[in-house]
């Protein structure tokens, strides 16, 4: 089969090579550099790490309970925010996907509108909402629900709210994309065959929306896990998330090797569930094809 000339073959390889080259330069290479730094020791020099190779940083990370707790807290907060994003995002995406085209584009505009304002500003705005003399507390006091301001600011709850707020669009958009494509007759067919509205949802809508759910959850969970700004601004000094630890180690302690080790660990924690999910999806796709 000499259908493809040598030149064509060459072109093809080149085109396929471009994304791989991109990934190598901007992902694999930095990763390898970070990996190398994580195996070094911190020194007072420039750059602030030695040329030695040891697993000391990782051993330190694994033995210090504080890091384990911080990783765990990050996982719990990110997971909780992901779940709330899903609970809020699904009905919103569903509503948008089922509305008339004119209303739909308006609603989608509302979803992406916050991106026009700096992320940092929006988190600052939450500080204004949540602090002891903020809008929320004042409103509750004015309504007579409470008579002392609630301590919301500088708690894990504030981080949780901040994460949910910031990442909600990343849940809604992929969900909307899958729901919008779904054939409405499928749900009608289920109803016609005797399924109640609830049963039709779980039998038809939910399984068909799964790719969107998975994409949305990953898009929320992964960045939420490494989030730095939100825990820094909304969380208390002891309410550490791993992104903040990473920043502090790097910036204040100038312990580049330890910071790198923290980053590598974070990557490992994130990569394992993603690989698992992708395997799952690949297997499903295989059994469907």
């Amino acid at each position: 089969m000499e259908l493809l000339g040598r030149r064509d073959l060459w072109w093809r390889r080149l085109i396929v090579a471009i994304p791989y080259l991109w990934l190598f330069v901007f992902f694999a290479l930095p990763f390898l550099i970070i990996l190398k730094i994580s195996l070094a020791d911190p020194i007072m020099a420039r750059p602030p790490f030695s040329e030695t190779v040891s697993a000391d940083n990782f051993i330190f990370l694994l033995n210090d309970k504080l890091y384990a707790i911080t990783y765990l807290r990050s996982i719990v907060l990110a997971a909780a925010a992901t779940v709330l994003c899903l609970l809020l995002g699904f009905p919103m995406a569903y509503g948008i996907a089922r509305s008339t085209p004119a209303v739909r584009s308006f609603l989608l505009l509302l979803i992406v509108l916050p991106f026009w304002i700096s992320f940092l500003l929006r988190v600052y705005a939450w500080m204004g909402l949540l602090n002891n003399y903020g809008v929320v507390n004042n409103l509750l006091i004015w309504l007579g629900v409470i008579d002392q301001p609630l301590q919301i600011m500088y708690t894990d709850f504030a981080i949780f709210l901040g994460l949910t707020y910031s990442y909600l669009p990343f849940m809604i958009l992929p969900l909307y994309a899958t729901l919008e494509r779904m054939d409405l007759d499928l749900v009608d067919a289920a109803l016609d065959l005797g399924a109640s509205r609830t049963a039709a949802f779980w039998d038809i809508t939910w399984p068909l929306a799964r790719p969107g759910v998975v994409a949305g959850c990953l898009l929320v969970f992964i960045p939420a896990m490494g989030e730095y700004v939100i825990p820094y601004l909304l969380g208390g000094p002891e309410a550490m998330m791993i992104g903040r630890v990473l920043f502090d180690e790097f910036y204040f302690n100038r312990d580049w090797p330890l910071a790198s080790a923290v980053a590598i660990m974070l990557l490992v924690i994130l990569v394992v569930p993603i690989v698992f999910l992708q395997r799952n999806q690949a297997r499903e796709a295989e059994s469907a094809a």
Binding site: L186, D188, A190, L191, D192, G194, A195, S196, A288, A289
Partner: protein, 369 residues
């Protein structure tokens, strides 16, 4: 077959409005038990909307729907003794063929053994036993359509609604499936309501047809009645091809009417009593196959006769089609069966010929209401 019951499905004054738009306009209809009833009409005339009201997906703006003596106007779809085969098939993409087919019984919480047995029967019926574990994406269009049919039939509904069941199939498969559908309907004795925009399909399939236009029924009747006695111009035009002649009524009596047609340049007669008056405009029509064509002047003086020139002709094997230009310039269509094999065709291009038909073949068309 089940006992006759002329109003098994009964629609009374059914209307459906979408905002200002009237999709279905005050429809009355009775469908008998075990009928294969077709709703025929052009795109957007409200066929699907009517079917969706029967299935329970839309609530009528006004009117009442009864099935087997029970008022189901506000009954939700999952509680109606009705199943539907969708225009898009709507086969569940994430379920295998057998899961799709079993779905209705599952929701009924039927015993597993019974489900398995009925699924096997259905797979047999639609000849998909070898494909039971496949997913819909692995099936052809025709096979998906059969899955949809089996899935809709497994609960043995009193009524099966089919929305353009054959639209997505190629001609050969469509003809084959038409007869399959008729066999299945005959075997199971289920009442079928079929929506279609294909008049040939409606003619082949149905015991009765309703011709729908702009949300209204123009005529309801047996295929033969609708074809031979269309009640107005739209129906006549929609079902098959027809030649129409405009004219002024010159005579009306108990046996028939006559019009003087400027189109034809002659007088045209029709039998039967009609609601027309002398001096008023009227329209008489005739089907192409009712018209005879020949070189010689027809002998029977009661026939309607005209002279013309063969403008075009097409030999289709069993039929020959002619386009004949009359002296007035009007084109009429004639189709003739090729009963005898002749070395040369009897009538050729540009031949001067006579066309004629019997008065009883004339159809008097009233204006569209």
């Amino acid at each position: 077959m089940s006992q006759p019951d002329p109003s098994f499905i009964r629609l009374q004054g059914i209307s459906k409005h979408f905002g200002d738009f009237v999709a279905v306009d005050n429809v009355d209809l009775d469908i008998g038990r075990g009928e294969l009833f077709s709703i025929l009409g052009g795109s957007g005339c409200g066929k699907t909307t009517l079917l969706r009201m029967l299935a329970g997906f839309e609530t009528p703006t006004a009117g009442r729907i009864e099935i087997d003596g029970v008022d189901v106007t506000t009954v939700p779809p999952y509680e109606r003794p009705v199943n539907m085969m969708f225009q898009s098939y709507a086969v569940f993409p994430h379920m295998s063929v057998e899961k799709n087919i079993a779905y209705g019984l599952r929701k009924e919480r039927a015993p597993a053994a019974q489900i398995a047995k009925r699924v096997d029967e259905m797979l047999e019926l639609v000849q998909l036993a070898d494909f039971r574990r496949r997913k819909p994406v692995q099936l052809s269009g025709g096979q998906q359509q059969r899955v949809a049919l089996a899935r809709a039939l497994i609960k043995r509904p009193k009524v099966l609604l089919l929305d353009e069941p054959l639209a997505a199939l190629d001609k050969k498969l469509r003809e084959h499936t038409q007869f399959e559908l008729m066999n299945i309907q005959d075997e199971l004795g289920i009442t079928f309501v079929v929506v279609t925009h294909d008049q040939e399909e409606a003619m082949t399939l149905s015991s009765r047809i309703a011709v729908m236009h702009k949300g209204r029924f123009l005529q309801v009747g047996k295929p033969k009645e609708i074809y031979e006695y269309p009640c107005n111009r739209f129906v006549a035009d929609f079902i098959g091809t027809i030649n129409t002649f405009e004219g002024t009524v010159t005579a009306v009596d108990d046996d028939g009417i006559a019009i003087e047609s400027t189109d034809a340049g002659t007088s045209i007669t029709a039998l039967g009593q009609h609601d027309v008056a002398v001096g008023k405009p009227a329209c008489i029509a005739v089907r192409p196959e009712k018209v005879f064509i020949g070189r010689d002047e027809p002998s029977d003086s009661s026939d309607i006769r005209m002279r013309g020139v063969v403008d075009d002709l097409a030999y289709l094997g069993n039929l020959s089609l002619y386009r004949v230009r009359l002296a007035s310039g009007k084109i009429i269509l004639v189709s003739q069966q090729n009963r005898q094999r002749s070395a040369e065709r009897y009538v050729e291009w540009e031949d001067e010929i006579w066309v004629s038909w019997r008065p009883r073949s004339s159809i008097v068309l009233v204006e569209d209401r």
